[in-house]
Amino acid sequence: MIDLIAQTGLNALYAAAYLSLVAVGLVLIFGVMGIVNFAHGELFMLGAYVVVALYAGGQVPYLAVVAIGLAFVGVVGLLMEWTMFRPLRDNPLGGLVASIGFLMILQALVSMGFGVRMAHVPPFTQDVIAFSDRVRLPVQRLIVIGAAVVLLGALWLFLKRTRFGWALRASAQDREAAALQGISINQTARIAMFIGAALAGVAGALTAPLISVNPHMGHSVIVAAFIVIIVGGVGSLEGAVIAAVAYAFIHTIVTTFWDGVIADIVGLSLMLLVLIVKPTGLFGTADRA
């Protein structure tokens, strides 16, 4: 039983790691640009397909591929900002529809390029850290956990310690006021979009060897990410991380001890409960709604 609980904890830690990466990116984009990026799950998918394209061939080392995935999806984010979200800045519903259109395009392109069936990603390493017979942490999962901590830590430092970070936080709090302070809205939007997309991409690239990579894999991730950012409060990065960890633990535990469908119902119900008690999420403020 102790083994079972310990293993469940390790499982949850991994789920929390990649979920926070996706959710923080989504929060950042929403916070700075006010746009609900429905295509965020597809950016995650795109990161995984970068690994399929470059790593399955075997020439490029895995960590380099992950870095390429991060940069490539970040650039796709810039492209989205430039072609869609900037012209639609004062039209959040238009931005929402554009991101839905973009999602369809990404799914269709990947289906055409790689087929509708799942794609293959060879394992990066098969090493396992065995605490006991039944408590085991695969190194691949450890890498995802480690990368999430490092990347989110770096993001935190960036936001708190640099001028860009300060500008970003200011815009996330109040875009007009930030503009009056001389902060370039275009620049902060670009930075937010790059970082947000890159985080989704790197999450996809890191988890690609561990999950099924297919053109529609983004869907399940975005649903969980939405739940997480709502519970955390949409303006709050810390809230997103805390909510991701809480959601991952609750979901994993319910799946292990009851079943997966009930876990989904519990997750959604808890989210509604949080909203009923505190309609702006645990760490959100009313202004950002």
């Binding site: 083994d3 799942m118 794609a119 394992p123 098969q126 099924s212």
Partner: protein, 434 residues
């Protein structure tokens, strides 16, 4: 003229031919690039399945396989209908796995394109098509026999009788490895997972294998399988059964079983792309993995009783054109076409009722894996499912090998009551559905 159009005045055959004529006149807006005049030379078959969206993996690869099939048949002169050679042409319609779109699609294929036969994946879209099938008498095929019911006599399940053939794997395993006595099972909570669970439960009970706990169901949108695997391994089973999990689940589950230190037997319905699973785990781990879908380059498929045309060449051609896309559905639709072609040539006509009569004559028909009989009254209320032998496949030294062909009817004659009991418990009998 539209008044009473669907009333009994018209016979089915007249209905179909008048429909074809109408489409020939070119009803306003009908998009018909192909000329109807060519109809005496061409016979059309509809392919009504998801080609885009999340379920496309169950339709698109089948259409690809059919294209190869049609090329080969047409190169060889086409289909002989009453002494005249006809080219085969597939008309695809993407139903997006939606009953409303499937209904519009069936109407278009039948009344505007004049197809003589429609292949479907089945499942959710079928109820939308069912009234169209009943009114027009069009011949339909499905991959999911759970669509069968006595209401629709022109729907057949001629390729796979999912999930009944899974009993062959359990039976073979129990004979080969009598030391394995305990099992756990996990399945996605959907229309494929549940009847399969019932089948495995019956097969395990028949083989005297004990279930350590109730089947673990997970949502089809699950991506991380670590919790499911942790849960299964907590009971220390000798057999882990993956039910009819899709490749998208089988791979990560196997990977997790491997990483979490499982070393026992694995049993599954499918193992598409198993060489990738081996790469993610190890050859030793996957050795002896039992499942139900052969590679078509297997030399066993060259046996005389196999009715699939040139399986080895088909596999090669497919792998070359669509690398990495081979799976169960790649050959199943094409094998239905083999059966249909044989019936058309036997009947000397492509009309649905004549073909169906020729196909079911004598209660048997040539299935891909050998002569099989029309069966299913107990479970589906109608004998429109084609069952016979089914192969049991095991992975040996990194390659899938057919270990045996087992008779499904023989198993059912012995253990039919068990299957009915478990199917009833999961509401899967035809009179329990809806």
């Amino acid at each position: 003229m539209f008044v009473n159009f669907f009333r009994s005045g018209l016979s089915r055959r007249r209905f179909l031919s008048s429909a074809a004529t109408l489409s020939g006149i070119g009803v306003l807006g009908a998009t018909l690039p192909r000329k109807v005049f060519a109809q005496d030379q061409v016979v059309r078959v509809g392919f009504l399945a998801p080609l885009t969206g999340p379920v496309a993996a169950w339709g698109k690869p089948g259409l690809d396989g059919c294209m190869i099939w049609a090329e080969w048949i047409n190169e060889a002169g086409g289909i002989d209908i009453g002494g005249e050679k006809h080219r085969v042409e597939f008309i695809p319609y993407d139903d997006e796995y939606d009953p409303a779109k499937a209904r519009a699609g069936a109407t278009k294929l039948i009344r505007e394109d004049g197809v003589k036969f429609i292949m479907m994946l089945g499942g959710d879209p079928w109820p939308g098509v069912q009234p169209v099938a009943e009114r027009t008498g069009m011949l339909f095929s499905t991959l999911l026999p759970s669509d069968l019911s006595p209401d629709t006599t022109t729907l057949i399940a001629p390729a796979e009788v999912h999930p009944i053939y899974n009993v062959t794997g359990v039976e073979w395993l129990a004979e080969t490895r009598p030391d394995l006595k305990t099992a756990v099972i996990c399945a996605q909570d959907d229309a494929l997972g549940l009847p399969s669970v019932a089948t495995y439960l019956a097969a395990f009970e028949a083989a005297g294998i004990e279930m350590l706990e109730a089947p673990i169901l997970f949502d089809p949108a699950t991506t991380d399988f670590a919790p499911v695997v942790t849960r299964m391994l907590a009971r220390n089973p000798q057999i882990v059964c993956l039910d009819t999990c899709y490749a998208d689940y089988v791979h990560p589950i196997c990977e997790q079983l491997f990483q979490q230190g499982y070393e026992g037997q694995i049993l599954s319905c499918t193992a598409d792309f198993y060489e990738q699973i081996i790469e993610k785990t190890s050859k030793e781990f996957m050795e002896g993995f039992v499942f139900q879908f052969p590679d078509f380059d297997d030399p066993e498929l060259n046996a005389d009783f196999i009715n699939f045309q040139e399986p080895n060449r088909f596999y090669e051609e497919y792998a070359q054109r669509f690398p990495g896309q081979w799976g169960a559905v790649s050959w199943e639709y094409a094998s239905i076409m083999d059966l249909w072609k044989a019936a058309v040539e036997k009947a000397g006509s492509a009309e649905p009722d004549a073909v169906l009569a020729a196909m079911t004559e004598g209660g048997t028909a040539p299935h891909a894996f050998g002569e099989a009989r029309w069966w299913g009254r107990d479970l589906f209320g109608i004998d429109n499912a084609l069952v016979g032998n089914w192969p049991v496949i095991a992975i040996e030294d990194g390659k899938a090998r057919i270990k045996a062909f087992r008779s499904i009817p023989d198993w059912y004659d012995k253990h039919g009551e068990l299957l009915k009991k478990h199917m009833a418990a999961y509401n899967q009998l035809w009179d329990q559905r809806s």
